[in-house]
């Protein structure tokens, strides 16, 4: 049974019937309905909200500015904030294609900054997120192999590099990375 609360306009499920997938679906429905109800404009279109976009853009651009000034950690912070805002701040019914592109674009910068500032695990997580969204370009694999190498995960780095090479067989940077990974692996195994 699903219970509907008239006041909060949210649905709930009996604890005994609650499974993980049901919980996810119920949270999803609640979030969507709350977002639609909160929307004051009766003629809303699924275009991205201008205010949100402006805020996100300003944060991102300030990050880029700091990058130019070589203030890496601050740049990273700002861009991370921009990404976070894009994720949490936007209403869920705004156009997915645009949200995805925006996030992918910003994440690429965030990843590079993370790698430069030595935050390899963060970079790895973001790279894996990007790959989950379908980005298969060679430079994604280059960055992932590099991150894994820096994290001393040589077996994983080799697997990633081999995959990158099978999708982009002529990528020289990947070939160079492969040599480096093999060298480190040989050392690791004595």
């Amino acid at each position: 049974t699903i219970l509907y609360n008239q006041n909060s306009k949210l649905i709930k499920c009996e604890d005994s019937d609650l499974t993980e997938t049901r919980e996810i679906s119920i949270n999803q429905i609640n979030k969507l309905s709350a977002a639609i109800i909160a929307e004051s404009n009766p003629n809303f279109t699924p275009q991205p909200n201008d205010e949100h976009s402006k805020m996100i853009k300003s944060l991102f651009e300030s990050g880029l500015a700091m990058l130019k000034q070589k203030k890496m950690p601050e740049a990273l912070k700002n861009i991370a904030l921009a990404v976070d805002m894009a994720q949490r701040g936007r209403a869920p019914y705004e156009a997915f294609g645009i949200q995805l592109q925006e996030i992918q674009f910003m994440l690429r910068h965030k990843i590079d900054l993370s790698l430069i500032t030595g935050r390899y695990l963060d970079a790895l997580q973001d790279i894996e997120f990007l790959m989950n969204t379908g980005m298969n370009q060679a430079d994604v694999y280059i960055r992932k192999s590099d991150a894994l190498l820096k994290l001393s995960q040589f077996d994983e780095a080799k697997i990633c590099c081999e995959r990158g090479l099978s999708l982009h067989p002529n990528e020289t940077k990947l070939k160079a990375l492969m040599l480096e990974i093999n060298r480190r692996l040989a050392e690791y195994n004595g």
Partner: protein, 605 residues
Amino acid sequence: LNYDYDETNETWPFFLLTVLLMIIVPLTISQIYKIFLQKDKNESIEDEEKKNILSKLNDKYTSNEIKEFRDIFETKKDSNILSWKNLIIIIGWISIAILIQRINSNDAIIDAAKGIFDPYEILGISGSSSEREIKSAYRKLSLKFHPDKVPKDLSESDKNMMEETFVQITKAYEALTDETVRENFLKYGHPDGPQSTSHGIALPSFLIDSTSSLVLVIFYISSFVLLLPYFVSQWWNKTKLYTRNNLHVKTAGSFVSRLVNYKPSQIATVDLIINWLSYAEEFKLFYPDLTPEDFENLLQDHIHNRDSKINGKDANMMKFRIVAKCHTLLHGFLEVCCGFRNLEMAIVCMDTFKCIVQGIPMSKDSQILQLPNVNEEIFKNGSIDEIHTLGKLFTFDNEKIGKILGIKDEAKLSETLSVASNIPQFKLLRADFVVPGEEYVTPSSTPYISIKVLVRSAKQKIIPTEKFPTDLLKESDDFEDLKNPFASMEREPLMPTSFAPKFPTKRRNTWCCLIALQKDIKILQTPYRLERLSLSNLSKDLDKRAIKELGPDFNPEDWEIGFIKLPLGQQAPAELGNIYMRVVIKSTDYFGADLDLTMMMQVRE
């Protein structure tokens, strides 16, 4: 129209005899064969165990508790002398003897046998006599028995007897020579044509007497209504309840539902798999009173080397039973993963297997911690640079290794080093897609994967592929091998008993081979289990070769090259191009014994 039962007990003994012989003779032959064959097999296994150092050390390091467990739970090999089968055989032969005796003492049967017309016997010649011999026998006998030649002073009855005999002889001769008579004889068994025949039922009449008929009816009813359904239902339940991999149907269902609901954002870990395993129906059937949480705790205790207690009572025996069952469960789970084409999950499943077999948690130091006598604290706090692999460990001399691992006792150190140097590792020499008899992989052909590896010890230095001449790495051109390329794998020796003292039963290492497409990292087919591979490179003059290799004395012929052939379940694509596949070969028992490579299939005209 009228069928009589066997009043004179002439026919039913033969019927019963035939039935008994049909059952007892094959049974006896198979038992004798089994007894002698089993003896040979047992002897060869024992010999092998004595020679293999890992088996010996495995025995040495197995705790007494586990040995106790094995005594209780391992099915004893049926004593070959006393068993139900042997009893049945003995009873069967006794019954046969009794029956034969009865037949021989039954006058009615003997009389009937006398009535059988045997021309060869009458003429006194063997069954394979030639025509000339038949003619000469006839002439001799007819001279003796011809009414005109018979001596005159014989009595009337004697004369009649002689006459009868003469008639028989003539009939016999004609049966063998004259066309029509011969035809009669062959058709009806008697030269005079069809004799009187009677048809009846070869069952004794006492069976249908009033009292015994009741017993018979009861017997029929009970067997059809009670026994038959009982046995059929037992058999049906057994087949229905367990899958092809010996996994309980409910367990398989639980694994499937876990994988269906698995979120891709979740990272698969060994702890997750152990949690899933704890819901297995097999565990519930063993110990209906325990919860999945209890089972999970038992498994985690095993991995973290803790004593188990449930409700304050010692639970180690339960733990061993649960752990031993994991072998079947994990193989079943691996098949389910392959069904869902989930490579990541399959790899974690194999890692879980290793953790359970060796009884250690998954960590970057697992390769070292799987060795016996290692002092974990000293090892982890050691100041020497990063040592996580067996290969790295062997770059130090023995004394240094002792310090690194925290082993002070010389004998213990030597045993630890034996184990470490006998764990088989792979060095990849060559990997190809091969179509038997062809030079390339052509469109829509059926290639198989052929991997040449050097099975080596971590103690030996890596030998680069270039040191091996290409003809040692070539596919065999032998016709038999082209017809069935996988037959050569069956000729390899079975893997010896593994070093796994914490695992409740003795086991052998296997490698599970997974093949996936690099394009979408999805598994292509069910896993291939590699159970046979020669480990001769590890045992043959280990130390001597460790010095010889890479120097000017290096002889590639000293080393045995392992051929691993993996059948591909699908054909090559119809279009030309390149396809990349990843082959993952993971050991069930040892850390550091795996192989992970990417291969390219070039489809050409």
